[in-house]
Symmetry: none
Subunit: 413 residues, 2 copies
């Protein structure tokens, strides 16, 4: 049992990625969260104040990146932060001035560069070996290339050198266009952008030459799995300054997550990333491990973010039952944390970064249900964690920055 | 009985300073407002539309100054208005261009300038005599000094002359640091700021020489009360233009209050201040007097602000029972006003400038409960004035400027 010091108010902010949903027929017209049995979260919400939250504004859908930027107190109204730099931070690469970072997926293409599987069968094993081989690729003098694997089929590519630009398009055709690998184009008419686009196109072509005959892929073919025979790049960015949340609050902040994007944003926002090998950013993440790390972190930190990706995965895959089950598993995790932590000075906060309705299979602009539970909140009548119960709650409908400010106000920062 | 003219719509806006609170155990988990018996306000809210209001945004706590600036229709997003100039206006000093105004407290220090009591035992009697002696202090040529007493231990200091700057720090160490009297420092590296800081430091030192042996303090010592033997300055400001609410609305506006900050903001916002000697800006203010002045003012004015400080005082002092009792007394005052005023064209509005939860003893970012009652509002189901009933009201959760705009819209401005 961890008893928190009485002098300081602490907060545990549980972020269920993609938790928001819409009513689903097979769940009797309920959302997965409404349909789930969640006794532990309900016990908290019964002593809490709830509401519905828009990350940017009602009806505006956001990605995991923007959702988490907002949740980590960044000013998302100020334009793009660049996905590449976040991912680079997530895998521990400190960008230097002039670097251009982008994300990549290992993907499966045929010999005419038609994309057969944008995620190479969600490859897990062997990406370190594939990446090591990619790092042997040489470009022209003065440009260094750095590949780094991230979770599953994801990775980070950093170009280092002079006269580079992040104003380039993606080679990844995206989910909606399973056509050919896209030619990377400069987004502005500047020599640096033209040059960087040319270099990335060269890298994509060379990646096929390196990966197609790779031993890891010969093995995958033998096992009937799709080859990870190319990289698809996206989200080039040169990085920009982040607000340091920890400094701003004068409090120690940590983030537990298995997802590199989230860890990257946390790191760039001044929160210490906490991750272990069994945190997968998927439905099979090690929830008991996350619970015990959260309990541990609450000793040393004032504010702990606990990120769970499962709902988003189930939402993208159109699996309401899986989403409901994952919520029920996380509820058990919450119960475990409550059994191990006590203290009159602990606030629980529950939120999401966006909605991922199963029927859509992608993000939507629906608000996410949120609540705050702890000493002296204005407890409202809401008894069940869910989209529609929370819409009746005492917080009303609020923006992400306002929800955060309310949490920080409770923490007496 | 005052019967209002049928041609014009009139409004009485009752501002309970610091009314918002959090659930309190000794009140059975209710807030002081929820626990209070408020039949007259409930009769109004039963024919009204209610909501919860954020002055700036959810979770953002504000001072009485910013709260009232917002309530008087000023644009608080545009940065600091300077507390000194407000206080100066509150005691009837019209600032001239180049003047620097600041607030001061009479305080008690020992001979090494350690602060023993930041408010000199909340001194009331004798501050006029002390101030008269302070006004005999002479600084260098070309700088005029003007001390003026305000409520209780508070006062206003104005420096008049050329080459002065409001970019200086406070000599008041504040509530959180009961250390020594602070050396006033320039906040910018400009000769005017250096000079003004030096002059204020000189004034603080001289105030001790004048006040320490003062007859008023000899008398206080005999009575066992702390000496008001120094001034602590804060909130220097040169003033800035205010929106004239009266002109903007094309309506006559008045403000009844016993607090100089509020009266100052009212005056600067184009509202006529109404104050008499028995209005104390404390729990012992003369509520029947405020009621009769309100009734009187509603004859001549279109919009009357009625400010009550008691809830804030009780909140700061951590006294939930006192806060509840003060609310019950104000409810009787409301009943008295209703008995004396009738008219189909009168709107009652109830609001606060911020929350001051008793358990915190300071302001918080919690929203304040509000309502509007009068002809043709969309009456909602709320029957009791309180934080949580109002959170279910028909106005929803709104910002101060939006609440004001709604009131003005009812007034047909």
């Amino acid at each position: 049992m961890t008893t928190l010091s009485p002098e300081r108010y602490k907060g545990l902010l549980v972020i269920q990625d993609g938790i928001g949903d819409r009513p689903i027929e097979v769940l009797g017209g309920k959302t997965p969260l409404e349909a789930a049995s969640t006794p532990h979260m309900d016990a908290l919400i019964g002593h809490g104040i709830s509401g519905i939250m828009d990350i940017v504004a009602p009806g505006i859908k956001v990605g995991t990146d923007v959702g988490h930027l907002a949740l980590f107190g960044q000013d998302i109204s100020a334009g793009s932060y660049g996905r590449g730099p976040m991912e680079a931070a997530g895998v521990g690469i400190a960008l230097e001035k002039g670097d251009v970072a982008m994300r990549f997926n290992f993907a499966t293409v045929d010999e005419t560069f038609h994309v057969l599987d944008r995620r190479a069968g969600r490859i897990r094993a062997g990406t370190d070996l594939l990446t090591a081989s990619l790092n042997e690729i040489r470009l022209e003098d003065g440009v260094e290339v750095l590949f780094r694997p991230a979770t599953e089929h994801r990775g980070v590519l950093v170009l280092r050198g002079n006269q580079l630009s992040d104003q380039i398009s993606d080679s990844d055709p995206g989910d909606r266009d399973r056509g050919r690998v896209q030619e990377v184009r400069p987004l502005i008419d500047h020599p640096d952008a033209h040059r960087t686009a040319r270099l990335v196109n060269e890298l994509v072509r060379k990646s096929y030459q390196v990966l197609q005959p790779h031993a890891v892929n010969r093995q995958r073919q033998n096992e009937g799995k799709p080859s990870a025979n190319i990289i698809l790049t996206r989200g080039a960015g040169a990085g920009r300054p982040y607000i340091n949340l920890s400094e701003k609050l004068g409090r120690k902040v940590a983030c537990i997550s298995g997802e590199s994007t989230v860890l990257g944003i946390a790191h760039l926002s001044g929160a210490d990333p906490i991750v272990t090998g069994s945190m997968t950013a998927n439905l099979d993440t090690n929830l008991p491990e996350k619970a015990s790390r959260a309990v541990e972190a609450l000793r040393d930190y004032d504010l702990v973010y606990l990120h769970l990706k499962g709902c988003d995965i189930a939402g993208h895959d159109g699996q309401p039952e899986l989403k409901k089950q994952f919520i029920e598993q996380t509820d058990k995790m919450v119960g475990e944390i409550r059994r191990q932590v006590e203290g009159r000075n602990l606030y629980f906060a529950f939120a999401g970064d966006h909605s991922t309705p199963c029927a859509l299979g992608e993000h939507s602009g629906d608000p996410v249900p949120v609540f705050l539970s702890g000493p002296d909140v204005r407890i409202d009548q809401v008894q069940k964690y869910g989209e529609r119960p929370c819409a009746q709650g005492g917080l009303g409908r609020i923006r992400c920055r306002d929800f955060l400010a309310t949490l920080f106000d409770y923490l007496r920062v």
